[in-house]
């Protein structure tokens, strides 16, 4: 079994998302601040900047350093692309359901990772 040891303990202390938010209703104004917390809970265990993590390892192998392997260091991500991967998965990454990452949370991750000024409408489906 895999014994790679990685540090992401600190992110586990972060509170995530607004409780009780409806699954299918994106907030009017995506919050990059909340997106950071949602990312820490749901994405960082595989996508934090550590080359041994599943997602970071896969993207390093795929892009060979042409673009950063860690998602938070990318400048080319869009909310649409993030939503596609979160809701469809890829290879061993299974999709995330709306009871895990709500549409509002997804829009927030999009705002956080795309480094764009938040738009008026959530882009996630």
């Amino acid at each position: 079994m895999m014994r790679a040891i990685l540090v992401f303990g600190a992110v586990l202390f972060a509170a995530v998302s607004a409780p009780g938010l409806a699954a299918g209703e994106p907030q009017a104004q995506p919050s990059a601040e909340n997106g950071k917390l949602v990312f820490a809970k749901w994405c960082a265990p595989c996508h934090a900047p550590n080359p041994k993590l599943a997602g970071t390892l896969a993207l390093q192998t795929k892009y060979q350093g042409k673009i950063p392997a860690a998602l938070e260091q990318r400048s080319d991500l869009t909310p649409e692309l993030i939503a596609t991967f979160v809701r469809n998965g890829v290879a061993w990454m299974a999709p995330f359901r709306k009871t895990e990452v709500s549409d509002a949370d997804l829009a927030d991750i999009g705002a956080y990772l795309s480094k764009r000024p938040p738009s008026k409408k959530g882009k996630a489906r």
């Binding site: 540090v7 299918g24 192998t61 290879a91 990454m93 359901r97 709306k98 895990e100």
Partner: protein, 530 residues
């Protein structure tokens, strides 16, 4: 594309959906194709085939009362429902129902940690509580208690226990169903049952004594289609003072029988409490996750001489006061001293709690720290440039003896080679449970229906081969649940027949987890759901 429940009038289903929307709120009933697609098994061996198990809808209640309401709505209309906790049972079915057309009852929103009892070292949780959630809670509250975690930390404590998941810390906690104490479950008619001491109103010992009075009913809910577990208690491990991991290397093929006999005596005599392992450095020299076929005695001894690598390695670990575990390790060394050429090694001593800066020096799952590190084994990487689309687990219980381990390794390796089953992990002696070994083989799944069809037929053959040797799987994906249940065939499959009698009594309309682990309601029994 969502699939409606077979043999149910569309109007009845639509009426049920409407009633569920009233019960839990319309936003928590998912019926659109994209939303229902999120409940597909991402690692399905039926991917994109007509037989792929697809839900009709999903409903996500927030409370026990809402679960009861949904069950009553579905029971009155004959709508099949399939409860999931966090839906992350990947490799064993994921979030998808066993029977297409079922409504997935997604319990992720029921995520309350109801109690952590520091004095009794126990907790009571809802199904949506993941290992990550509980770890975070224990850390935030300064608890002295540890969790036992399986490889992926996003799973549900309850869901993992109900499918008999296992972990990596001390013996009483590694078997997650065995570490449970007290279940609350909603039955097929919406009634609420509490097991053990929980059956007594005002009980103060629900998480302290499992049995209560009369027949012990907890087992009814393991890998079950008899109820929906809404609360479960667990025993937790008080953080020890220190951890010590060591290994014992022996040099001859013939050492395996006396080695495992001694490992067993020492573990059952409480000389060590950490998870042991028995492997072969010489046979895993290519890849530690791939145990090669064990050759004949003379050949293995020759390989040992040529490579200088030990024939067998017993890894042992201890949790406790440092003085005590050092004395235990000394005793282990004394007991193995008579093996020719034995070599002892101390690998790691860790004083607890672990300072944050040392986190990257330890195997997290040995310390009850959840992660998703395991997924790196299947990631795109220089050694795996074309990753698979997922994997399934083959998980057979085999004897905890040298002879049993060698035989199971050879039979399984030869079967996988004969049937050309690709493997990315083959590990014949895992010890989540103390009294048996588990032989785990991980099989990559494809997105090519022809290849998946071939894999399904091949795995069915392996199940039969194992059964002929008396080795049964303890857990399996839905594609093989009928075959595995059928292999437990003593006295004309009385195990399955008794389960069916209980199913008929507790869930006469046959709505809960239809077909799970080979138990079908009366109306579908003949064709096993086909």
């Amino acid at each position: 594309m969502a699939k409606l429940p077979p043999n149910l009038a569309a109007a009845t289903f639509a009426d049920g959906v409407k009633a569920m929307q009233s019960a839990v709120g319309a936003e928590w009933v998912f019926t659109s194709d994209p939303d229902v697609a999120l409940y597909r098994d991402a690692y399905s061996l039926f991917h994109d085939e007509p037989e792929e198990r697809i839900a009709s809808a999903a409903v996500a209640p927030k409370s026990v009362e809402e679960v009861q309401a949904v069950v009553r709505i579905c029971n009155a209309r004959g709508i099949p429902i399939y409860p999931i906790s966090t839906g992350r049972n990947l490799g064993y079915g994921g979030a998808a129902p066993v029977y297409s057309g079922s409504v997935v009852l997604d319990l992720k929103r029921m995520n309350r940690i109801l109690e952590v009892n520091e004095g009794n070292c126990s907790c009571l949780v809802e199904p949506g509580v993941s290992y990550f959630d509980m770890y975070k809670h224990l850390q935030a509250t300064g608890s002295k208690l540890w969790l036992d975690v399986p490889d992926p930390g996003w799973g549900s404590m309850i869901g993992n226990a109900l499918d008999s998941g296992g972990g990596y810390t001390a013996a009483p906690y590694r078997g997650h169903f065995e570490a449970q104490c007290g279940i609350e479950a909603v039955l097929g008619d919406g009634e609420l049952l509490r097991t053990g001491m929980g059956a007594m109103p005002g009980s103060q010992t629900w998480q302290q004594y499992k049995m209560g009075i009369g027949p012990c009913l907890d087992g009814l809910f393991r890998q079950s289609s008899l109820g929906i577990v809404t609360k479960m208690g667990f025993w937790l491990f008080p953080q020890p003072e220190a951890y010590l991991s060591c290994s014992v290397d022996v040099q001859r093929f013939a050492d395996i029988d006396p080695l495992i006999e001694l490992v067993n005596e020492l573990e059952y005599g409480n000389i060590f409490n950490g998870m042991p392992s028995v492997t072969s450095p010489v046979l895993t020299r290519g890849n530690p996750a791939m145990f090669a076929e064990i050759p004949a005695e003379a050949e293995m001894d020759r390989l040992v001489r040529e490579t200088g690598l030990p024939a067998w390695r017993f890894s042992v670990s201890f949790y406790g006061p440092e003085k005590v575990i050092r004395a235990q390790w000394e005793h282990v060394q004394e007991r193995f001293a008579h093996f020719d050429g034995v070599k002892f090694r101390e690998n790691q001593t860790v004083k607890l709690p672990i300072p944050l800066e040392d986190m990257d020096k330890i195997a997290k799952n040995r310390f009850g720290i959840p992660s998703l590190d395991i997924f790196a084994v299947g990631s795109r990487s220089p050694s795996n440039p074309e990753p698979s689309h997922g994997h399934i687990w083959f998980s057979a219980i085999i004897p905890r003896s040298g002879k049993g381990m060698v035989e199971a390794n050879r039979v399984m390796r030869q079967e996988c080679a004969r049937l050309n089953i690709p493997l990315f992990m083959f590990s014949p002696a895992v010890t989540c449970w103390t009294r048996s070994f588990v032989l785990f083989a991980a099989v990559p799944v494809s997105n090519d229906p022809e290849e998946n069809k071939r894999l399904r037929a091949s795995v069915l053959e392996v199940i039969q081969t194992c059964a002929k040797h008396g080795w049964g799987e303890y857990r399996t994906p839905p594609a093989f649940q009928d075959a595995v249940m059928n292999s437990y065939s003593f006295n004309d499959n009385i195990l399955r027949r008794v389960n069916e009698r209980i199913k008929d009594a507790l869930d006469p309309n046959g709505i809960i987890s239809v077909g799970r682990y080979g138990i079908w309601p009366k109306r579908l029994r003949e064709g096993r759901g086909a």
